[in-house]
Symmetry: C2
Subunit: 492 residues, 2 copies
């Protein structure tokens, strides 16, 4: 056995155990009996300890040091790149800090939930302050003198920098604000769907759509959960959705979103399964797959035409006067407080707000005590309305309570990537709309599989997009797509 | 921290990881996508490796050596007894042998399934020979000069011996054969239930019955699987059942059987959760709980009277002319080939046959090549019919293919224990039938919880039964119960 083989064997077992951890998370959110939570936390804690010891095993360093990369191929070198990166990150974090972060954020999530339910920022403030202090400490340990925010961001989007993202967001924001204002001033207000839609029928239609978009049921399943998510890699990639009988689009577009994430993991070259390269390469690229399925394909006029007719067959109603009204309802733009309910126009404004605030928090330019005021001021500027209560403002997202700083911008990066990919996909598959008008997206899935999904972590995130599109990713295609689409929907 | 605390902390984490392993097994049998099997095997293999290293960690020996038992209470000493026992077993097994057993039995199960499907004993013979060779080797390593079969049996029923069980079985067998022959010669043949019963309604009724027998849904759930089973300890104890629309009793009595196993684990003192004492103490005592719920309580005349009426309400039919015919159908005695379909009279005869054969196999008095003939000869003698094909004979059970030698007798031990417990329960709760006639068994569950379930592994198996009953367990109560019950059902 060579050092390379030993190293990969070690990681294969670690990856297998990490899959087990993911399965426990899935179980907890879908099928676990209510009274099992405390014991489950102990089970996950024990497994997390095993994973941490494996990931910081000093043999990894010894193996890495003794490998001669000269004779290795591109895939092997990519494996080493991922291993080096994660080993180096793990070794830079003092174990006491990791343990304290795990302890504090686990408690913080509960306190945040209480604060949100009671609209009580003060209740969350001491805990948030503590989380920010620890994340700054973590960032300092990881950054080794470099930019603090970049050190956190790098965990979710390797190679991206706060500066680069800020410049791109600064270019996007005026165009998005302008589009938003023109829509709001258009005098048109497309109504949402009316009526009630049976839960079982929604799930049946969700399964049908997932099939049409290339989700592989031999290696997956669909369940209900409070918050939709995708879980697992390799040959067992499960998705969930949520069901609201008054609002059937939530179930269906959540499904399409998760089908995007799921198809990505299912589409990775099986040769990479249970290896460091065998996952989606970054949160941004992952989000590009979920967004292009959900938005560019799923909210297209062609697909909505099919969906309108299918609604009539499945539910006996479509909640709209005709196919055009249905399409307008699906793409309804409305000023809302909540990120997860936002339309394609508002969504990225939500992200930019969070990105700027969390970057200031980590840099020490903003303190937790001043966060609510900063949030409310910015929201009024970008959305044209005042936040009515903290649960609709600074307390709405779980992310910061669990220590996810540097994660938010990957949502918009995903949208930007999706804009680029959609432009390239349209060029490569000119008759895309013909399939979508029959409810099918398999040609899109085939193209995405070949050009984005199959390589897994073989290339850097921006490189994946550039190889697929033939140009370096930039915000132009997304903004053009939004202008064109919503210009038509709102007659601008 | 004392050595005792360190030792228990170590085992608490091991127990938590063992729970995770159980959860993976549950997932595999209930919800896993079909295409996930190979990866799941890798996941379970990786976790098994972690568990093996934890269970053979030399620090366990050092901690055990440095603990002074003088100042410890009864519960602490019981913890040490369990830890000493399992550590000593684990250390006696050479790692190469464990690995080979895992590899061979994992392959053997598939070959056994093929052989059973094809009725082809020869296809399974080389593999079975290999499994037996390895199990003899394992037994020799564990026995250290003592009895080989006892060394295997001890894993499932600590303290029991092959000799002791053989003597008890020899006392039971003539009375069971005689009862069987009198029933067969009675000229009565109670028909099975007729009709078809919707799957969803069966599961709804199964859930209702589980509730009435004290199953705790806050810490459990019911799903469907090919073979019913119970999974988990502590605060997450799940059960499964199977559904056949032509045979509703299978779903309901499988549920009651698993409710017995599940109630046992749910009933253990929460102070013992995630410790070595926090499990049912042996397979025999576990089976006593499943059997008393399924048979002595579930197949009683009082409960069947309620069930007959409930069938009419739930299914619009009960498949029998009246409550008495329903009770007779539930307790129908018929010569069948298959252990898992056997009635209360035949079941133990199935076990005794397997016990004698596997004891001879491990002792070297019988070889795999002669097993089929030995099986068929014995079956004809005890059941009065000739085995028609291997799938109905020597190939019917999975146990031997996966290396479970010494497990079978615990089924009958469980029936014997259930007989004892039922006698004591009747004396302690005189109005048991009044509850059962309303479909409820909570007073029985309360008594079993207090006297059998709550202590977990605090006492030795036979001691658990003796403490609950006030007398040492013996076969008399079970045989008397069977004579009385089936004497009435068949007018003997």
């Amino acid at each position: 056995m060579s050092a390379y083989d030993d190293l990969l064997d070690h990681h294969r077992e670690t990856e297998a155990l990490a899959e087990v951890m993911g399965r426990l998370g899935w179980d907890q959110e879908t099928v676990m009996p209510r009274g099992g939570a405390q014991q489950r936390a102990e089970e996950m804690g024990a497994l997390e300890g095993v994973l941490h010891r494996r990931r910081t095993d000093p043999r990894i360093g010894a193996w890495l040091a003794s490998i001669d990369e000269g004779g290795l191929g591109a895939a092997e070198r990519a494996q080493l790149r991922h291993i080096r990166r994660s080993y180096s990150r793990a070794m830079r974090l003092p174990e006491t800090l990791s343990a304290e972060l795990a302890r504090v954020t686990s408690r913080a999530q509960g306190i945040w939930a209480e604060a949100r339910a009671a609209d009580d920022v003060a209740h969350f403030l001491p805990t948030l302050t503590e989380v920010i202090r620890l994340k700054r400490e973590e960032a300092a340990a990881l950054a080794e003198g470099g930019d603090l925010y970049d050190a956190l961001l790098d965990d979710y989007e390797p190679g991206a920098t706060g500066q680069g993202i800020a410049e791109m967001f600064d270019r996007m924001r005026p165009r998005l604000v302008s589009l938003r204002e023109r829509i709001m001033g258009s005098g048109r207000d497309h109504p949402a769907l009316s009526g009630r839609y049976g839960a079982e029928a929604q799930l049946t239609l969700a399964r049908e759509i997932a099939t049409h978009f290339g989700y592989d049921w031999r290696h997956g399943r669909l369940d209900s959960s409070v918050h939709p998510f995708t879980s697992g890699s390799g040959t067992d990639v499960r998705i969930t959705t949520r069901v609201d009988e008054a609002e059937p689009l939530g179930c269906l577009y959540s499904t399409l979103h998760e089908v995007g994430h799921g198809a990505y993991e299912q589409g990775i070259d099986p040769a990479f399964h249970l290896t460091p390269v065998g996952h989606g390469v970054s949160m941004g690229v992952h989000e590009s797959q979920s967004r292009i399925y959900e938005n560019q394909l799923g909210r297209s006029a062609a697909f909505c035409g099919w969906l309108y007719a299918r609604f009539g067959e499945v539910f006996g109603q479509a909640g709209a006067a005709d196919a055009q009204a249905f399409y307008a309802a699906v793409n309804r733009v409305h000023s809302g407080y909540i990120r997860t309910e936002a339309d394609e126009v508002h969504y990225n404004l939500h992200i930019m707000l969070r990105f700027d605030l969390e970057r200031d928090l980590i840099a020490g330019r903003l303190e937790a005590a001043d966060l609510e005021e900063a949030w409310n001021t910015r929201f009024a500027a970008d959305f044209g309305v005042a936040v009515d209560r903290p649960a609709n403002g600074v307390l709405q997202d779980v992310h910061w309570s669990v220590g996810l700083f540097g994660y938010f911008p990957t949502y918009t990066l995903g949208n930007v990537y999706a804009g680029c990919l959609y432009q390239a996909l349209r060029a490569a598959v000119p008759d895309l709309d013909a399939g979508l008008a029959r409810g099918h997206a398999e040609p899109a899935t085939d193209w995405l599989r070949a050009h984005v999904q199959r390589p897994g972590g073989l290339y850097a995130p921006a490189e994946v997009i550039e190889r697929a599109c033939g140009f370096a990713p930039h915000e132009g295609p997304l903004l053009d797509y939004l202008d064109t689409k919503f210009g038509a929907v709102y007659g601008l």
